[in-house]
């Protein structure tokens, strides 16, 4: 065994984050590490990376007990961790980043003084990239100018430069466009063929199935089980993660579409959106699919007044409206749940009740000025109960809640505003399976109550299962529309990648 972790325990304040976890990786093996948020995946990885110290348990490396006190210790052993937030210096070149930790020095006195042999560094970087099968990345490009996918490759090359024997990838695909995911998988295969161990942490079960040899599931800081990949069905993985079978991840009732509520015609924004036209009816969930960067979020932001438009008409109930700011949109009854709730959707330091009431504070105030906090409390309590907020406390700061419950607060804010149109941007990204089902049920319920819903999602199963119709975008244009009946993963992907006929390989 390359790595054996035995009986690892770790406590943070009052929470036992890890309670005797075992975890092994062998050479040439790709191990999937899955579990809900708070199951202990990150803690386990951080102990391996030397960021946290274990309270108890032992770590064997090549059969020898080792102590990893600092990230430098982990590096010396040959552990490289590629975090979701990449660890690169954006203003330096690929080569500089790859050899940041052990610069390629010049021979002789200059080298002794710390001068770098740039030509050699460039050569070696190129060689490392070649080993990964990457031929089109210039080592002299600044990292900040690269796409996330290439930044990730730079990190992997950096790991190889450090002679890593085990590479841990924490949610490596979450920021990647779909076509890049396949590329990453090829690189993982190469790493495995070279005899490296790879730990693949992901929420996306289909990817885990596609790339891993074995899956280890954590729950509440313990080993919930391990599955060889041929036994790892979605149902079994979810059951292990959640601790009980989920009956229905996508509770969707057939829609009873009413009148057209939102209609956009010829929406244009130079270089971003080209002639976008569609409509959403009351009681309907319209999915907006497409690759990352295809303009989905831009459509949402344009309708919501967050970005300027160069042309196009937006109609509400048939009447043309002018939306210059989110304030205008809100006044007209259009709400937007942004893709990154922590950065855009919530004021994390404020309490649940503050966040819930923020959009309607004026209506809750005497004369529009003096806030009636009792009314705010009552409103927040009502939504906390309706949405099954856990814990059901409205005076907690929202950063104390789990991702799923934070998303409920964002939704509560817009429910309180009594909207006609709700635009959801990646409504369940990074949310636990259990809470995901609840959010889906909530979306279904809102549609049933007559709201017109536009849902952007990168998760194809979610789009397919939750939408009544699916709009597919490609490079700033609407590539096509599919009804619920005719939509399949292949068809959506084909439209999204600009193809019209030939089916795309199912990942």
């Amino acid at each position: 065994m390359l790595l054996e972790m035995r009986g690892i325990r770790k406590r943070f304040g009052g929470t036992q984050a890890l309670d005797g976890v075992d975890f092994n990786v062998d050479r040439g093996e790709v191990v999937g590490l899955i579990g809900e948020n708070g199951a202990g995946k990150s803690t386990l990885i951080k102990i391996l990376a030397g960021v946290h110290q274990r309270d108890a348990g032992e770590i064997l490396w090549d059969g020898q007990p080792v102590i990893i006190r600092t990230p430098a210790d982990a590096q010396r052993l040959g552990v490289a961790v590629i975090y979701q937030e990449l660890n690169l210096t954006p203003n330096q070149t690929v080569a500089e980043n790859v050899f940041l930790h052990h610069p390629q020095l010049r021979p002789g006195v200059l080298g002794a003084l710390g001068f770098v042999d740039r030509a050699r560094r460039e050569r070696e970087t190129r060689a490392l990239l070649e080993q990964l099968g990457i031929h089109n990345l210039d080592p002299n490009r600044k990292v900040g100018e690269l796409s996330v996918a290439y930044q990730q490759l730079t990190e992997i090359a950096k790991a190889l430069a450090l002679d890593a024997k085990l590479i841990v990838m924490d949610e490596p695909t979450s920021a990647l466009p779909d076509e890049e995911v396949q590329h990453l998988f090829e690189i993982v295969h190469r790493l495995r063929a070279r005899g490296l161990g790879v730990v693949f942490v992901s929420h996306r079960l289909n990817e885990v199935r596609a790339i891993c040899d074995r899956v280890v599931v954590l729950r509440d800081g313990r080993n919930a089980g391990a599955l060889p990949i041929h036994e790892a069905t979605d149902e079994r993985m979810i059951a292990l993660m959640v601790g009980r079978p989920i009956e229905n991840l996508y509770p969707k009732r057939p829609a009873q579409p009413g009148d057209v509520v939102l209609e956009v015609q010829g929406l244009r924004r130079r270089g971003v959106l080209h002639d976008i036209s569609f409509h959403v009816r009351a009681g309907e969930v319209v999915g907006l699919a497409g690759l990352v960067g295809s303009g989905r979020t831009e459509v949402a932001r344009a309708i919501f007044g967050a970005d300027r438009l160069d042309g196009g008409v937006i109609r509400l109930h048939g009447k043309p409206v002018t939306i210059r700011s989110p304030q205008d949109a809100l006044r007209l009854g259009i709400g937007y749940v942004p893709e990154d709730r922590k950065v855009q959707g919530l004021v994390l330091g404020m309490t649940v009740k503050h966040n819930t009431a923020l959009a309607v504070l004026r209506q809750l105030a005497l004369g529009g000025h003096v806030v009636r906090w009792s009314a705010v409390d009552a409103l927040a309590m009502r939504f906390a109960q309706e949405l099954h907020l856990r814990p059901p406390r409205v005076d907690l700061p929202v950063n104390a809640l789990s991702g799923g419950n934070q998303q409920k607060v964002v939704l509560a804010k817009w429910l309180a505003a009594q909207l006609k149109v709700l635009i959801l941007d990646e409504p369940t990204r990074g949310i636990d399976v259990g809470a995901k089902a609840e959010i889906h049920a909530l979306i279904d319920e809102l549609a049933h109550r007559g709201m017109a819903i536009l849902m952007i999602s990168s998760e194809l199963p979610e789009v397919l299962a939750m939408s009544d119709r699916i709009l597919v975008m490609c490079e700033g244009r609407l590539a096509g529309e599919l009804s619920r009946a005719e939509a399949t993963q292949e068809r959506v992907l084909a439209l999204a990648s600009g193809k019209t006929l030939e089916p795309v390989v199912n990942r």
Binding site: Y336, Q344, L346, V347, G349, G368, P392, A441
Partner: protein, 341 residues
């Protein structure tokens, strides 16, 4: 409402609300009060003069202007901005009020003096401060200059205007009704202290109960989210700068009334004390956090400390170094407090 799809998941153990005393103990205001009590204890031991009502009221009187300006800066900082121009604004407002109210004629300077009623002069001074604030707000909100740079520039510009207008001379000769604003008493309480308490209560109520107060916290906590929630972000940010300028204006006029003179170097470097008051009081420079009570207590602490230095016969030249040290100390305490929670 939604048909429950899942068996109820065991809820994450609802952490009980910590006991009241624990929450009070964790407030930044509490640490200041404790620090004040300790300091008072030491001072009472070493100097008989300290624990007399007149000395205590004097400390408050001498720092009321800083506390009042700190109220304004608190609003700006909570909304995620900063105003470095408060010292200059105070001097400018003071000068405007001084010229308006001055009876003139004492020295040979050519500055106009209008002999207006004190109430009018006071209002003009506050208005002048609000004008500086409005320009700050314009620079930040409309021209999108980073607040630090915009107000640093205004610090220089406004101070330069004050020096330029006066050619370095002072304005004096005020009617007693005006100097009473700084030197007089209402009952046993110095007039500036009455101003301080009244304004603190008003600003405190504004933050706690006015819709805009909550908006200010929300904008400072997460501006993007506030924008996407449809809040009038630009208007509110502008408002904080205008209020900050106006409150600095009140402080500036009170300084002139207290000293009986408007000098071009007045309130020079006060931005240090004003911002320090807010920060010591737990107003987070990252935005979104802080209270009026904290800012006022911060100003009082700085006042007591300066008084202590005088009573302990530390040369006044050293005072600024001590104030700077207190800022660092409070920042450290804030950090420790945050790490614990």
């Amino acid at each position: 409402m939604s048909t429950p799809v899942l068996a109820e998941k065991k809820s994450p153990e609802a952490e009980p609300t910590p006991a009241l005393w624990r929450r009070v103990l964790q407030r930044p205001e509490t640490s200041i009060i404790i620090l004040l009590l300790l300091l008072g204890l030491v001072l009472a031991q070493s100097s008989e003069a300290f624990l007399t009502p007149s000395n205590l009221f004097n400390i408050l009187r001498n720092n009321a202007d800083i506390a009042i300006a700190a109220l304004g800066v608190t609003l700006v900082i909570i909304a995620g901005g900063i105003d470095l121009s408060v010292g200059s604004t105070m001097a400018f407002s003071g000068l405007v009020a001084a010229m308006a109210v001055s009876l003139g004629g004492t020295t040979a300077y050519q500055l106009p003096s209008f002999g207006l009623p004190p109430a009018v002069a006071f209002a003009l001074g506050v208005l002048a401060g609000a004008l500086v604030g409005a320009i700050n707000g314009f620079l930040v909100v409309k021209l999108r200059i980073v607040p630090f740079i915009a107000t640093l520039g205004m610090l220089g510009v406004v101070r330069g205007i004050v020096v330029g207008l006066t050619s370095g001379q002072t304005v004096r000769n005020f009617p007693i009704e005006f100097t009473n604003l700084g030197q007089g008493f209402i009952g046993p309480v110095p007039v500036p202290v009455v101003f301080m308490v009244t304004l603190a209560v008003i600003v405190g109520l504004f933050l706690a109960f006015h819709v805009w107060g909550t908006y200010i916290y929300a904008i400072g906590g997460n501006e993007t989210s506030a924008l996407l929630t449809g809040l009038p972000v630009s208007r509110i940010k502008w408002l904080t700068y205008v209020l900050c300028g106006a409150l600095a204006g009140v402080g500036g006029v009170l300084v002139v009334a207290r000293l009986g003179v408007s000098a071009p170097t007045q309130a020079l470097g006060y931005e240090l004390y004003v911002i320090a008051s807010a920060v010591i009081g737990g107003v987070s420079l990252a935005g979104g956090r802080g209270t009026v009570l904290g800012a006022v207590l911060g100003a009082v602490l700085i006042g007591v400390l300066n008084n202590a230095l005088v009573l302990l016969r530390v040369e006044s030249y050293w005072q600024q170094a001590f104030t700077g040290g207190i800022i660092l100390l409070s920042a450290l305490i804030d950090r420790l407090r945050q790490r614990r929670s």
